[in-house]
Symmetry: C2
Subunit: 346 residues, 2 copies
């Protein structure tokens, strides 16, 4: 605890939607709050997961609350998201997910039939992910004091014996891979919220990544240096976090990033950049450059990896900065999202 540390200014002394965006304001809020008040070394690692000793074993733990609006959307619903999100966080931390907890905050008057649909969806997502709900909690708040349903899931698992992952393992020359298309989840939620008609292939990409990640780790082991699922704040946030932490530069080639034409269209209509849009079914991997092509080939064998691509490289130039190279070779920094772009996307 560091009580003498003065609190930085946020430009606001109240919570704003931007504080939940996963961008710069979220980072500021955490810096001044959780990270300065709690002195846990686990928190200081700033991963989404913690790996802690438990008797003679290690346990990998992660937690996530889901407040997505709308609750149901093409490709999924809040229930699927609540399972996949937590399973994926564990997988990114090199964990093999075993158990989930399920805590519901229900708003008075929420239809019980909708609750059952969501529970059924959770049940199916657990089956697909190979995890089990082992304990839970249900709270109810008065009408107008919540928003239909909020879900928290906490995931508990064991470390993969093949994983050696973390910012510390990222090195100059690493290839940066995306396991799939960028922006599908966020564009779907936004389009639905704005009442735009969704057609073609556009749907949330929500899905469990633990099996594809586990297979990759089993085959390529320590050639995989860092994994992250680019949810809130999109791939831009993931890349910026990595650049900032490692004090290395990141060079991304725009044309190499797989993006669905519908996502480009919606983003353009809504004035958004797909690189800042949340994803729920892809991961970004920093890998040993010599293995990158083999990893891509391996990922493409899996239904969740068929659009896998190498999108960039870790370099020594412009340390701490992500630079995007466009179609005609122009370059611009891809900065961390300053505030709120897409509230309640997950």
């Amino acid at each position: 605890m560091n009580q003498s540390c003065p609190l930085p200014s946020f430009g606001s002394d109240q919570i704003t939607l931007g504080h939940g965006s996963g961008g710069k304001l979220t980072a500021n809020l955490l810096d001044s709050g959780v990270f300065s008040i709690f002195d846990s070394p686990y928190l200081q690692e700033r991963d989404d997961t913690a790996t802690c000793p438990l008797g003679n074993e290690s346990v990998v733990i992660t937690t996530d609350s889901f407040v997505v609006n709308p609750l149901f959307f093409p490709g999924g619903d809040i229930g699927k998201l609540a399972v996949h999100g937590t399973v994926n966080d564990l997988a990114m931390g090199g964990g093999i997910p075993n158990y989930l907890t399920l805590a519901l905050i229900l708003e008075e008057d929420f239809p019980i039939a909708k609750l059952h649909t969501i529970l059924q969806s959770i049940h199916e997502a657990c089956g697909e992910s190979g995890v089990e709900i082992v304990t839970g909690d249900t709270k109810v708040v008065e009408k107008g004091k919540g928003d239909q349903i909020f879900i928290n899931t906490t995931g508990v698992g064991t470390p993969s014996p093949h994983a050696q992952l973390g910012n510390a393992y990222i090195q100059k020359g690493d290839a940066i891979i995306t396991s799939g298309r960028v922006g599908d989840h966020g564009a779907t939620i936004l389009a639905q919220r704005e009442g735009l008609e969704i057609s073609g292939d556009l749907a949330s990409d929500t899905r469990p990544l633990n099996h594809i990640v586990h297979g990759m780790l089993e085959k390529f082991g320590h050639a995989i240096h860092f994994l992250r699922d680019p949810t809130r704040g999109g791939i831009s946030s993931t890349l910026n976090e990595a650049a900032t932490t490692t004090k290395l530069g990141i060079h991304i080639v725009k044309d190499d990033i797989p993006i669905l034409p519908e996502v480009k269209d919606f983003s353009s209509i809504l004035g958004l950049d797909p690189l800042y849009i949340a994803n729920e079914g892809i991961f970004i991997a920093f890998v040993e450059a010599t293995q990158a092509e083999a990893i891509i080939e391996h990922l493409r064998q899996h239904p969740f990896g068929k659009n896998a691509a190498i999108i960039g490289t870790v370099i020594e130039d412009h340390p701490g900065v992500v630079v995007l190279e466009n179609e005609i070779g122009g370059r611009r920094p891809l900065n961390l999202l300053p505030g709120e772009q897409l509230p309640r996307i997950c």
Copy 2:
């Protein structure tokens, strides 16, 4: 999963505040939802905790969301409650708490200063309980879509080597113990919510019970058959659940239940029964009758156990029913709370 099971009627097809009361409606909701959709043996045990294999060890897991209103009250705040509640659930399941996760759902415009006060309180409660926050999550919802702050904590620990606890170990002749006074937390919250002036000793009893429970288990081991912290629904719910599950009768002597005069007064003003009011710092223990006096003497050495008392006995008569004997020897059944008495007490 049992899809063919018809859903029971709730008298309502929407969520009501009563579904969050911890009473009969909560039980109905869980029966038709979680328990019929998920087929996990861990859930079927209907404990607040799950003990699951993890490699060569076992892990004890529990989760709880906190939506108490008001956030700050004599004796504590939502932060303390969020730590103690989860630590206590682990302790009741025979677990030694090690790690907590912390997930916040913040409402837009919530003052950051209040957030810091609550985080500080969480930090202190963790210190007192001997647990560490290892990972977390922060979400923000729009003004009017939440209520200031909701907190979820999930607790992860190891099983105590001295504990052999559960409904299955309750037997005829067991003495029923409370570790302290009944109703303090609920009466405090209610009095504050109703604008009644709180004086004297009345304050929430929120506190971590893991140390006192661990000491008791270490000394008395298998003589302790069952533990539960009587939160939502009060000691009446705890006793009724035990009677229903074991199909044994429970005989409680009203005069033996320690209750603060202020709690009696407030309850009488508000038309409530202290036996249905939530507690956050006591436990109910079912213990080997021959050891009961020694256990009471032991508990009274601990600051959190100085009001410990034997309040009843497990009997064969009136199976599944809790009977309360009053001051003049009259007897009445102490039934499960039918619906909502005290919303958002924790």
